[in-house]
Symmetry: D2
Subunit: 148 residues, 4 copies
């Protein structure tokens, strides 16, 4: 698949997150951007006690928040930091229980249009390769100022 | 639509939540069960500062957690508290920005099978009637012991 | 929920379908528009042999086509016939087997924005009230000429 | 990702389709199974006039039917031909218009459990590599006889 080129590097995304998006650091304290590439953003987080459901597995809202954030970083790195894009749809399948510890997310842009960005994202436990959760989502991209 | 009858009353659900499910009270401190009926569970929560995204709107993971919880209470009230059902799929559309304050969720069972429960849920701002978010989800119901 | 008012009546929609949209009549020969109302379009079709899967139940693509068409008629009756809107996302849950015969679809607009229309739709067997299939979908509405 | 091994070869799937599943040949006359591998089934079809919408693009129900069929073949090749599995959920994003001609589908098993099989599928125009449609779906696998 042809992938659009990013307009932000991995270093620029890390700087942006630290300065402008501190709440993602609050939600996911050890969040690491592990890859920014054409049509692609990968993240790694550490699932802590507060991310767990009774029974000790990572909660649905944590996994939802993680894939949604990966999708947001897809828009951000490929459109630039001006646009205030918002999630319009997210479909998530939960496939296996996730244990505490490191989780990897691979997010991939399926379409980067003028008005919509569609992505999918897979979450795996970092020391295994079974998919824990898989999501597909859409972000609405606001019209650029010059368009109006 | 024919709706299955609940096996727990609204009072029994409130007692169950307080005793067995305190983390839902942690996530949503003012959570109130406002209705338990045939095929139906309604909830009300208060969106506080910690539920907000920058810009002051209720976050996606908060809305996800809320509709997922409403789905869980649908299974619980209609199957009983033994079954440890888990979300397998959740599809959510975000339609309008949600302001801090009271949010209402109406959840409805679309199918209650032996192995799967399908529901949908609408979230509205309590003083308005526009839908903020709408979700459809599936819970897997584990086999009963006597089945094996 | 506040529902937007339609700009086409049920009679106007029927005329439009007959003149401009004959392929919907080919796919669903006995298609009947049974309701056009604020935020609402209902349809009735007759499932024939060619709509069935082996085993005699109505096929997934038939149910998909039917709910997608109901969504299209939601846009059409509430925006007008100029706009060439297209489906961007459709999520469908199949809940029960559908027998040949009459099927009813109730479609409801959840959001009518400038750029996106979100709807849900339920399919029931006309002589019963269990939901056979439930879908949520999004149509992208193209920019009006005067906007550019 | 660890992928389950198929229990049918590509030749066995082709024979099975010809003998037991002729209606897929009716719907998609030039359907070709191009790959059966661990956790993977690829198909190729030719979009003809009857698969097109006005405007000359491949219709939504055609693309839905194609990805649903690819998911069915995932179950079939990895569980065996006895099980009468059924689609319970399918979420599809339409990303680009598809022209008449050859379409390729790549379907991948995300989870193969005892009761549910989750897959995703991407459709591309055979001479290009942009994704036209992407779907995620779930098949319910009936209990084996010896289980009961």
């Amino acid at each position: 698949m042809q992938m659009p080129n990013p307009v932000m590097s991995i270093a620029e995304l890390r700087t942006f997150i630290a300065k402008e998006f501190p709440q993602s650091v609050d939600d996911f304290p050890d969040l690491e951007v592990t890859r920014v590439d054409a049509g692609r953003v990968d993240l790694r987080m550490r699932a802590l006690t507060r991310h767990l459901r009774p029974g000790g597995t990572v909660s649905g809202p944590t996994l939802f928040g993680l894939v949604d954030l990966a999708g947001y970083f897809c828009v951000l790195t490929h459109i630039g930091p001006e646009a205030l894009s918002v999630t319009t749809n997210l479909n998530i399948n939960f496939m296996r229980k996730a244990d505490p510890g490191l989780l990897d997310v691979e997010a991939r842009i399926l379409k980067l249009g003028k008005r919509l960005m569609v992505f999918d994202a897979s979450v795996t436990q970092s020391d295994a390769d079974n998919i824990i959760a898989h999501a597909t989502g859409t972000y609405a991209i606001p019209p650029r100022k010059q368009e109006g």
